[in-house]
């Protein structure tokens, strides 16, 4: 084996600030109002971390799949996460999620369907063509990001399972392994984490079965190796690190709904007109972009995806079905 030692005057590769890191710094400084925004910071697409395997996707043609908002810096998107299996602080997942093994990984597809199956993650990766989708992400806590995800419509997988007439809902279960997830020791939620969608929501082209972000595979803290992303719903509806997808007839009770039913409904669509019992949902802070002293930006109905998903809820009382 040939080992190349760089000459002494050359900096070691690890000493060079990665491009995304300095770009991110500039954006943050601009946000603080200390420096004019660097034109470089607006370069598209947003660079990834460069440490994970590449996972390119073709720009999606689905309606609403690519918003024009500036993507959040990779460093922010991977260091400010809610993933309670690793702790409730938003810095916990980035610090602790490295203990999660994402290979081998299987996803059970089961319940009310003609073709249940046990999918290996590598089979899922090849199931359909990868697309890049730039979605807004609105957290129920009142902050938002813009993330370039990589994946394909969840409907691709659902169609292959051939759900029966009894399949009215789809339930997602996140991995719950005490050995790999230190947060499970706390009683914050009942584990495993369960989320669910109505069948027509799950079949909507914008519901994304997601394997990557920023042109690379998902970092563990963002829900590796496979998660869903539902851009018109509050972030917690988008289950991470999925091990089971189950078709059911009865409306499942999702984890947050069980924990605080008066605060978190089954639908949890982004809705600036329906306040959380403890805070307003009318506005949001865009992470990494809105300056420290900037007023929060208004939250959009269905997070700006009303044209695409509004008809799913036609005639429904969204105040009651929050």
């Amino acid at each position: 084996m040939l080992i190349k030692t760089p000459p002494a005057h050359e900096p070691h590769p690890s000493e060079i600030t990665p491009r995304h890191a300095y770009l991110n710094r500039r954006t943050a400084l601009a946000g603080l109002g200390l420096a004019a925004a660097s034109p470089l910071a607006l370069a598209q697409p947003a660079p990834g971390g460069g440490k994970l395997a590449k996972l390119p996707g073709a720009r999606s043609a689905a309606a609403g799949a690519v918003v024009l908002d500036k993507p959040t810096g990779y460093a922010d998107a991977t260091s400010y996460n809610n993933f309670y299996e690793f702790g409730t602080d938003k810095s916990d997942p980035a610090e602790r999620a490295h203990t999660m093994k994402t290979r081998p990984w299987t996803v059970m597809v089961e319940g009310e369907c003609a073709k249940p199956g046990r999918y290996d993650i590598d089979a899922l990766l090849k199931l359909s063509a990868m697309e890049e989708r730039i979605y807004r992400l609105r957290c129920v806590e009142g902050w938002s990001m813009v993330i370039p995800w990589v994946g394909y419509s969840l409907s691709e997988l659902i169609k292959r399972a051939e759900p029966t007439g009894k399949a009215k809902f789809v339930e997602f279960t996140t991995l719950a392994d005490r050995a790999q997830m230190p947060g499970l020791r706390s009683g914050v939620l009942d584990w495993p984490y369960v989320e669910a969608l109505r069948m027509d929501e799950a079949m909507h082209p914008l519901a994304l079965l997601t394997f990557g972000m920023y042109g690379e595979v998902l970092p563990n803290q963002n829900g590796a190796p496979v998660r869903v992303v539902l851009p018109w719903k509050y972030g917690f509806k988008s289950a991470k690190s999925i091990v089971k997808i189950r078709f059911v007839e009865k409306q499942p009770v999702s984890s947050w709904e069980q924990s605080a039913p008066q605060e978190y409904g089954f639908y949890s669509n982004v809705n600036p007109g329906v306040a959380h019992p403890r805070w307003s949902q009318a506005s949001e802070r865009r992470i990494g972009e809105d300056g420290l002293f900037a007023k929060k930006r208004p939250t959009l109905m269905f997070n700006g995806y009303e044209a695409q998903v509004g008809q799913l809820y036609a005639g429904m009382d969204l105040r009651r079905n929050f």
């Binding site: 943050a28 603080l32 400010y80 810095s91 914050v188 924990s259 306040a275 403890r278 420290l292 929060k296």
Partner: protein
């Protein structure tokens, strides 16, 4: 040892040293904000950091009397007022950071928020209750009010501490995460429990 400590506390350096020390958390937060070290959501980190230091300042202020009696270092009392005033300053900055960074200084919206969120109401109440204490924190106020009345007024700090703790617990309730509030709660229980114990002990009739 005690004498050396007592001498240090009585020296002219003690108060300026405490003054600088009390400014350190604020200096760090401002520095971190300007050098982008507060993470992805610097506004949230600033608001929470100022809140954390308000609680710590309040607990430290309440620790002075028990420490003084336990160690016999009467000179500790010289530092209590400055700690209290700094606590109020951090509480005010915490409120200002919330009102500015979180609510965009929209007074109507802040009023709605205070009414809507019990934990915000608690925090605001704690600050409002500190206001008269901070306003009477100079020697002349003691003279004007009379020592007894002044002391009675300043007993409100116990209520402030309990309300501030409720503010913290309520804020974390959304995440069902009570580990940190529990630590603050235990310390406060000791600080207030010690006072209750002393009071009861004093009232006990003496047995021959």
């Amino acid at each position: 040892m005690r004498q050396a400590l007592s001498k240090a506390l009585l020296s002219g350096v003690a108060k300026p040293a405490l003054f600088v020390t009390c400014l350190l958390p604020l200096a760090w937060l401002v520095y971190a904000a300007f050098t982008n070290q507060l993470g992805a959501n610097p506004a949230e980190a600033l608001i929470r950091g100022l809140g954390d230091w308000t609680l710590r300042g309040l607990w430290l202020t309440l620790a002075i009397t028990p420490l003084r009696e336990l160690t016999g270092l009467a000179a500790l009392a010289r530092l209590r007022r400055m700690l209290g005033v700094f606590t109020f300053a951090y509480a005010s900055l915490h409120l200002l950071a919330y009102g500015w960074l979180d609510m965009g200084l929209d007074l109507a919206e802040i009023a709605v928020d205070i009414a809507k969120r019990p934990f915000i109401l608690m925090g605001f109440a704690a600050w409002a209750l500190m206001l008269p204490l901070a306003a009477t924190s100079f020697n002349k106020a003691i003279k004007v009010l009379g020592a007894k009345r002044w002391q009675a007024l300043h007993k409100a700090v116990y209520a402030v501490s309990v309300i501030a703790l409720m503010h913290f617990i309520w804020m974390r309730a959304g995440k069902n995460d009570f580990a940190e509030p529990a630590v603050y709660g235990v310390i406060l229980a000791v600080l207030l429990g010690w006072r209750i114990f002393k009071r009861l002990a004093r009232k006990k009739p003496r047995l021959g």
